[in-house]
Amino acid sequence: MRAYAIAIYLFLYAPIALIVLFSFNSGLSASDFRGFSIAWYGKVAGNRFVLEAVTHSLIVAAASATLATLFGTMAALALQRVTGWLRAVFDGLTYVAIMVPGIVIGIATLIALVTAFDIVNDLLLAIWPADDPGAVPQLALGYGSIIAAHTLFSLALVIVLVRARIAGMDRSLVEAATDLYATPWGTFRQVTLPLILPAVVAGFLLSFTFSFDDFVIAFFVAGSKTTLPIYVFASIRRGVTPEINAIGTVVLLVSLLLLFSAQILLRRGAKPTRAT
């Protein structure tokens, strides 16, 4: 049984190790190893398209994770006092947002936004006080649409994480603060927030990781804003090169870093929550 476990760990990590190993290949072809070199990293760092894609990805991930953490935490805090139909509606929407496949979210967002944009753009053309139609502002897919679509999934994720933390929280602390004449804001800042903070920060990091890694939703709604996964996907289709291995190694490293921070934060605090 131990041998089986070792075999599974090998199965899980060997392909990742292979990517890292071959990113240091000095040869031109991805598949025969010629010697150690960091030339491909230099090549990646000098590739304007890669840098552009990384910038797009970082902006989208930071914006969507911030929005999702803020709105998700607010909703989770409110939901602890809500009962009845409103709570059932929010529970249902949270689970639908997590369960509906990314590809369907991508499609639905694409056609809904394109339809809405067409209507608004026609309206703008009709009412804008300018003679040159080129000067009229027009809505298009881009940062806004990717950030909005990523925020949807991350929002649901943050709500689930923070609510799990609140459920494991000692209510008597909040009651004690109220009995000692703390204002609601004071109670929140000094009692509730420190208690839920690990889940909030973990939610931010997981949202960031999700957005940074997501391919399928961005594929539909990115418009002209190529994110890093879209760039990698396009290069894979053009052919396998060690450049992709180098990008992959950096991406793996970054997501590992974020992931371990999230894990440590979720485990901090005396009371373990249901979240792992």
Binding site: M1, R2, A5, I8, Y9, L12, Y13, P15, I16, L18, I19, A30, S31, D32, L70, F71, G72, M74, A75, A78, V82, F90, M99, V100, P101, G102, I103, V104, I107, A108, T109, L110, I111, A112, A148, T151, L152, L155, L157, I159, V160, L161, T209, D213, F215, F220, P229, V232, F233, I236, V240, G248, V251, L252, S255, L256, L259, Q263, A275, T276
Partner: protein, 292 residues
């Protein structure tokens, strides 16, 4: 305590706060989940505009035309259950090992090591297998050893390997949780009563881990149904899923109404699975296992 008037006042203020806190999330869900899904439903009843896109209509023609994409449905409905089953068979012994046979000192670390790959780039991990199974990877190695020419990539087998690689962590975790909760004294009692290890496993361990097994299978199955990247990269256009048909319909042939009907049937298939899952877990008295 406070007077009736003040408590009435504070209740009102609380309600206003609650509404304020819920508003952004509620609006987000409405604008980016409910409305887009409603648009998909409406579009699925329409017809394709001559230049691509949507023209208003009210017909079930798109749904009646679903068999035109039968291959994608068949591949998904065959490979998703098989992939789930292989994941289960591979994951159960590992989850058992971690929950029962590992000392608590290393348990957490080993568990984290299983889950970590799931949260790292899915695209890069799938690409790694393209690299391994492609012409100059394993097949070249096999040929060098003397097995003759073997083709691995762009076959159902390569898609299956990608599936197991991608989703194994997701299966291990819920099974581990249900096995760890299992009361070890039950197994001792069974042994004391003369039960063989195999019989104890079959009659005690397996039924008690059923909630974890069901949760894991459902999660993997649901994600597999909407899979796009694995069949795209490892199936190379020969083994394609519903997801690949959807990308083709929306981004290449721009047949939005028909694509919407395909997307709706995918969602309906998934909802049916979730309903079945809820029925099953209720029967086994399972609690839901949080995954995150």
């Amino acid at each position: 305590m406070a007077k009736a008037a003040t408590s009435d006042d504070s209740a009102k203020r609380r309600r206003r706060w609650t509404a304020l806190l819920l508003a952004p999330a509620g609006l987000w869900f409405l604008a980016l989940l409910v409305m887009p899904l409603a648009v998909v439903v409406v579009f699925s009843l329409g017809e394709r505009a001559p230049a691509g896109g949507y023209a208003p209509a009210l017909s079930l023609a798109n749904y009646l035309n679903l068999p035109a994409r039968w291959t994608a449905f068949r591949n998904t409905l065959v490979l998703a259950p098989i992939g789930t089953l292989v994941c289960l068979l591979a994951a159960y012994p590992l989850a058992y090992f971690l929950a029962v046979r590992t000392s608590p000192r290393y348990r957490l670390l080993l568990l984290i090591l299983v889950i970590v790959p799931f949260w790292t780039s899915f695209l890069i991990r799938t690409y790694a297998w393209m690299f391994i199974l492609g012409g100059r990877g394993l097949p070249a190695l096999f040929e060098w050893i003397g097995f003759g020419e073997i083709r691995l990539i762009n076959t159902p087998l390569s898609v299956l390997i990608g599936i197991v690689y991608g989703y194994l962590p997701l299966m291990v975790f819920p099974i581990f949780v249900s096995l760890e909760r299992l009361d070890k004294r039950l197994l001792e009692a069974a042994a004391d009563l003369g039960s063989t290890p195999w019989r104890s496993f079959r009659q005690v361990t397996l039924p008690l881990s059923a909630p974890g097994v069901i949760t894991g299978c459902m999660l993997v199955f649901i994600l597999l149904m909407g899979e796009y990247l694995i069949p795209q990269l490892l199936g190379g256009g020969k083994v394609f899923f519903i997801g690949n048909a959807l990308v083709d319909l929306f981004l290449q042939s721009r047949n939005w109404p028909y694509g919407s009907a395909v997307a709706m049937s995918l969602v309906i298939l998934m909802l049916a699975t979730v309903t079945l899952y809820l029925r099953l877990t209720r029967r086994y008295g399972g609690r839901d296992v949080s995954l995150l």
